[in-house]
Symmetry: C2
Subunit: 326 residues, 2 copies
Amino acid sequence: MTSELGVEEAIHGLFDALAAQSDLEILAVGDPNVLEPLLAKGPSALRSRAHLSPATEVIGMDEEPGQAFKTKKDASVSVACRLVKEGKAEAAISAGNTGASMAAATLTLGRLEGVRRPAILTFLPNGKGRTALMDSGAVTDCRPEDLVQWAIMGNLYLQHARGVAEPRVGLLSIGEEDKKGNAQTLETLPLLRQAPLKFIGNVEGRDIFDGSCDLVVCDGFVGNVVLKTAEGLAKMIMSELRAEYEQASKLGQLGGYLSKPVFASLRKTLSPDEAGGGALLGVAGNFIITHGHSNRVMLRNAIRVAADCIRHDVTAKMAHAFKPAA
Amino acid sequence: MTSELGVEEAIHGLFDALAAQSDLEILAVGDPNVLEPLLAKGPSALRSRAHLSPATEVIGMDEEPGQAFKTKKDASVSVACRLVKEGKAEAAISAGNTGASMAAATLTLGRLEGVRRPAILTFLPNGKGRTALMDSGAVTDCRPEDLVQWAIMGNLYLQHARGVAEPRVGLLSIGEEDKKGNAQTLETLPLLRQAPLKFIGNVEGRDIFDGSCDLVVCDGFVGNVVLKTAEGLAKMIMSELRAEYEQASKLGQLGGYLSKPVFASLRKTLSPDEAGGGALLGVAGNFIITHGHSNRVMLRNAIRVAADCIRHDVTAKMAHAFKPAA
């Protein structure tokens, strides 16, 4: 309901996902007055798999998350989480206020037994595929034990939802040597060495993009800075390219024209839309958080991420890994 | 002496700088057996402004910085700092072990009175010019007061060495709203609001690259991650472009050929070589740290940064700003 590009864009994403995956059914949660006409406009062959689930309230992007979650019991994100909790849906997706989504998911679904802080796993392009980054912004101040739990959760996610047999896990730091880092990473490094992982030690920001590791672990503040730095730089490079072509010779401009397919492909590789959404791992249910200004491509892909979580029973795998021995 | 691309590359950078700036004299500090023949090979018109200053030891890239600084009294970086301390040089530049450079500069030159932790200011491209980032990796665990001091030092640097009348200063965080951030930034934000700066509040990773601020302040761990993330992504994008062209149609490949000048210009915009080196601000003397694998372009530009510091008397400006009232 609160996606910054509007509800219509979200519904387009919903139908795109239904078209791409014939075994899905999707519930659109929100104001029936808004959603009903939009769902009615969808392709007739798909409409029977698109359902409406009413919610009378919405949490705005600027609202204080904890407060909004408490007072707006019938907010769309809370209703979506309750559907999962009650077994009426197998995953929930939110493109709204990240803090409120976190609160709704954590408090409605609950944390998995043994998990300290649920966190968000997202993907960045690395030329050969994608590198997972966790945490991407859920937990801004964390303990070394949290980083170790995220490494374990991210590892399980890559193994089960993405089929990476033995994910290479790195700790984001500022040098590869063991003694490089800050107080947090220096304390975390020996703990990760003892964890049941293919831990490759400290990695640097540049290693995220060269395909040398599958999962990079960092605190949510640093992870969010990495995501937004990459987003900003990629955008700047594309607009610099445009500006350079504008100032180029006639032949250079022809070069730009002939290069259009190359740039379209590059833009697709770099686009966060392709990764879809970030899975919130560590809660007792599948929950996907996407960008507040997600377009239909990103929403379709976020739904694909959710479907992957369902098909591979990701939450059950996490629950099993963290369940304290009886 | 320890630059990863070799001493010859460094000496090329030295002569390039002498050619570009006729009022400079440069001392090459290190092993005379290595340096003398290289200096003798330089352009004859420039040789009279290139001097040799002997140092018998070097600190390797892998040595423990504090220990190496203590035991190797005659290391080239220490000799260079002593030349500044004794007034025989007006700035020192190191492309070696960053930790050892920091130790040599901080302990030989000393901190400016009133400065808690010296830190490194570097530049990133933003499409319109460059955005300064401070700290870039000197101090990995810091206090809010340090961030405030860096904002003040960076602000002075931009005003005096770069002629930015009223630098826009932002605090790197994970959302623009005041309540977004981690414990460190939340505590720092109100302090920066009270500082004598044009403080524009929290900024995000993407704002570094859009020209909306002149100086971004963050702790050295985060700053170093930002630098290396940007470096890694830029490299990945350039190699993706190459790969895309290789797979393109004949016409697409022609497009790539005709676009060569555009890519050369883009590569130059993105290259860290253009920014030169990072100024270590807060020590009692001008000291520039550059990449361990600096090429001649980067070294020439690092020397330009040093010359800017000298010409605009940057250290004196800092000293004046931090001197406690008598």
